[in-house]
C-alpha cells in the first residue's frame, strides 16, 4: 500500500511539474521541460503501439504530419492556436487509421518497414508540393495568431499530462487485454473472439494522433517547419529509445526514459560539446550500458532495487546471473 502511495505521489508531482514549470520556471527549466514533455508524448505514443505488437519505425510521420497540419491551418485559414492543434490530432488519427488498414495483418518487421516507408513517402510529398508546404525551403508560421511562448509551453505540458492519462486509462481497460493478447499471438487471440483489426485501428489512431499533437505544438514553438525537420529520422529513433531505456510495455517506463534521455543528452552536450563528436559518442555509450545492465529498463532496475532492499523475492538465495533460459 505504501509503495502504491509513493508511486501515485511521484506521478502527481511529475505531472504537476510539467504543468507548473511554464508558470514558475526559469527560462532554462522551461526549455528542458518543454523538450522533455515533447519526448514524453512521443515515447508514450510509441509504447502504446509497441504494446499491441506494432513496432513503429516511422513515428516521425505522425510528428511531421501534425506539424504541417497545424501550420497549414494557421497560415492559410488563420486558425487559432488551440484549434490548429485539434487539426494535428485529427490528421494523426486519420493517418493512424490508414496505416492500420494498409498493413492489415502485417506484423513485426513488415509493419515496421511499412511505417518507415510512410514516413519517407510523406517527406517526399512535402518536398514535391512547394505551393502547399513551402517545399524544401520550408514554411514560416505567420506570427499574427501567435499566442505567446507561455501558452505554447503550457500546451506541451498539457499534452504530456493528457497522454499519460490516456495511457493510464487504456492500461485499466479491456484494451489492455486485447493489446497484450495481440502482441503475444494474434492468431490465437482470434479464437477467443477478438477482432484484431478493430483494436489495431484503435491503437494506431490514438497513438498517431498523440504523436501528431507533439508535432503541432513543436511547430508553434519553433515557428518554422521543413520536410527534413518534420520527418527527421532522429524523432523516430528518440521516440523508441526513450521507452526502451525506461521500460518498454509499462506505464512509467516511457516517461522515465524520456526524462533520462533528455537529461543525459543535455549533460553530455554541455559537458563535452567542445570536443567534436564526443558528446554523441558518450551519449551512445551510456545508452548501450543501460541496455546491457538494465534489460528491463530504468523502471525494471528500480523495481529490482526496491525488491532487494525490502528483502523480498527470495533475496536470501544467491541467484547466479545466468539462470534465465537461453
Amino acid at each position: 500500500m505504501n509503495m502504491r502511495f509513493a508511486s501515485v505521489s511521484i506521478w502527481v508531482v511529475g505531472l504537476l511539474f510539467a504543468l507548473l514549470t511554464p508558470v514558475f520556471g526559469s527560462p532554462t527549466m522551461v526549455d528542458i521541460t518543454f523538450r522533455t514533455c515533447s519526448l514524453v508524448v512521443l515515447a508514450v505514443s510509441w509504447n502504446l503501439m509497441a504494446s499491441a505488437g506494432l513496432i513503429s519505425l516511422g513515428h516521425s510521420a505522425f510528428f511531421g504530419l501534425g506539424g504541417y497540419a497545424a501550420i497549414l491551418a494557421a497560415n492559410s485559414a488563420g486558425t487559432p492556436f488551440w484549434l490548429s492543434l485539434l487539426g494535428s490530432l485529427v490528421a494523426g488519427a486519420i493517418l493512424g487509421l490508414g496505416l492500420a488498414l494498409i498493413t492489415g495483418k502485417m506484423r513485426g518487421i513488415y509493419f515496421a518497414i511499412t511505417t518507415l516507408a510512410v514516413s519517407e513517402g510523406l517527406r517526399v510529398i512535402a518536398v514535391m508540393l512547394p505551393d502547399l508546404t513551402g517545399g524544401a525551403k520550408g514554411a514560416y508560421l505567420i506570427p499574427d495568431n501567435f499566442p505567446g511562448a507561455f501558452t505554447v509551453n503550457l500546451a506541451m505540458g498539457i499534452a504530456a499530462v493528457g497522454t499519460c492519462l490516456i495511457a493510464w486509462a487504456i492500461s485499466r481497460s479491456r484494451y489492455h487485454f486485447a493489446f497484450r493478447a495481440m502482441r503475444a499471438n494474434e492468431g490465437a487471440s482470434q479464437m477467443l473472439g477478438l477482432y484484431p483489426l478493430k483494436y489495431r485501428a484503435a491503437i494506431t489512431a490514438i497513438s498517431g494522433s498523440l504523436a501528431s499533437l507533439a508535432g503541432g505544438v513543436e511547430v508553434w514553438h519553433g515557428g518554422y517547419i521543413d520536410p527534413a525537420l518534420a520527418f527527421d529520422l532522429h524523432i523516430t529513433i528518440t521516440s523508441q529509445i526513450a521507452p526502451i531505456l525506461g521500460g518498454i510495455y509499462t506505464l512509467s517506463g516511457p516517461v522515465l526514459g524520456a526524462v533520462a534521455t533528455t537529461l543525459i543528452g543535455d549533460a553530455t552536450r554541455i559537458g563535452l560539446g567542445h570536443i567534436e563528436g564526443a558528446s554523441l559518442l558518450v551519449f551512445g555509450l551510456i545508452l548501450v550500458g543501460c541496455v546491457l545492465y538494465l534489460p528491463q529498463g530504468i523502471r525494471g532496475g528500480i523495481v529490482q532495487f526496491l525488491d532487494w532492499r525490502s528483502g523480498r523475492g527470495g533475496a536470501s538465495m544467491p541467484v547466479p546471473a545466468d539462470t534465465r533460459p537461453r
Binding site: F177, G193, L194, Y195
Partner: protein
C-alpha cells in the same frame, strides 16, 4: 449442430483432406483419431476459419460458417484449443483466461471486474487456481494444455474442439482432466476431441471418426473402432492394441 459436407483441402497440389463428411449432433462427445499427418489439425483449422476450404461446406447450427474469419466463428459459439499451445506468454495465467471472457460473444457487455470473476471457475475446473498469477510462459507443457482449455471455457462455447489436450500430462492429471471434461459435457457442451491417448477416447466419446491420409477410414462406436482391423493396422499398431484392453 456441426455439419461437414464433402470437405477437401489441398496445399499446393498435395491433398491434405479429401471428401470428408460427418455430422456432430448436440450433446455428442465426438472423437477424431488418426496417425500423425492424417489431417486432423487441418480439419480443425478449416472448421475454425484458420484456413480456407478447397471445396465442400461447413455448417454450424444450420448456417454455413466456411469463409468466416476465426473471431466470427468464435462469436457463433465455437471454441478450440491448439495442439501446439499458444499461451499469451507474458500475461498471467488468470489474464489469459480473462481475455477469453472479455472478447467472446457475450464479452462486449461484460465489465473487467465481471470478466475477472468469471475466470475463477475455468481455472478451478482445470486445476490452475494455484498458478493463476504465474506468467503463462512459465507453465510446463501440461500446464499450458490446461490453460488452453480454461481459456476456451471462459468464452462459454456451445461446441468445444479439443486438439490433443492430454499431451504431456501424467496419468493422474489425465484422470483429473477427463472428469473435468465429463462435467463440462454434462453441463451441456458438445465436444469434439482429437486425441492420441486411446483410452481417453474410448472412455469419453460416444462416436469416433478415423482419419487416414486425409480420408475417412472408419467411423463407429469406440469399441468398434479399437477392434477394427484396418484401424489397428493403420493407427493403433498391434502390440499396444493387445495392451489396451487391460
Amino acid at each position: 449442430m456441426l455439419k461437414i459436407t464433402n470437405v477437401a483441402k489441398s496445399f499446393g497440389g498435395i491433398k491434405a483432406i479429401s471428401d470428408v463428411s460427418f455430422e456432430v449432433r448436440p450433446g455428442q462427445f465426438f472423437g477424431i483419431i488418426g496417425a500423425n499427418g492424417a489431417g486432423k489439425t487441418t480439419l480443425l483449422n478449416l472448421i475454425t476459419g484458420y484456413a480456407p476450404l478447397s471445396s465442400g461446406t461447413i455448417e454450424f447450427e444450420g448456417e454455413p460458417i466456411h469463409g468466416l474469419p476465426p473471431y466470427r466463428i468464435a462469436h457463433r459459439g465455437i471454441g478450440r484449443t491448439f495442439q501446439i499451445t499458444q499461451p499469451f506468454a507474458e500475461m498471467s495465467v488468470r489474464d489469459n483466461v480473462v481475455t477469453g471472457a472479455l472478447f467472446s460473444r457475450n464479452g462486449a457487455r461484460r465489465s473487467l471486474k465481471e470478466a475477472r470473476a468469471m475466470s475463477e471457475e475455468p481455472l478451478r475446473l482445470v486445476g490452475l487456481t494455484d498458478q493463476a498469477d504465474v506468467p503463462a510462459g512459465a507453465l510446463t507443457l501440461g500446464g499450458k494444455k490446461k490453460l488452453e482449455l480454461a481459456r476456451v471455457l471462459a468464452t462459454e462455447p456451445k461446441l468445444i474442439l479439443l486438439d490433443e489436450v492430454m499431451g504431456g500430462l501424467t496419468w493422474g492429471e489425465i484422470e483429473d482432466l477427463m472428469s473435468t471434461l465429463r462435467r463440462i459435457h454434462a453441463a451441456g457442451a458438445t465436444i469434439v476431441m482429437i486425441e492420441h491417448v486411446v483410452h481417453v477416447i474410448v472412455d469419453l466419446c460416444d462416436h469416433v471418426f478415423v482419419l487416414n491420409f486425409g480420408r475417412e477410414l472408419f467411423r463407429g462406436t469406440p469399441q468398434d473402432v479399437v477392434t477394427h482391423p484396418e484401424v489397428i493396422e493403420a493407427y493403433l499398431g498391434k502390440p499396444l492394441a493387445a495392451g489396451a484392453d487391460a
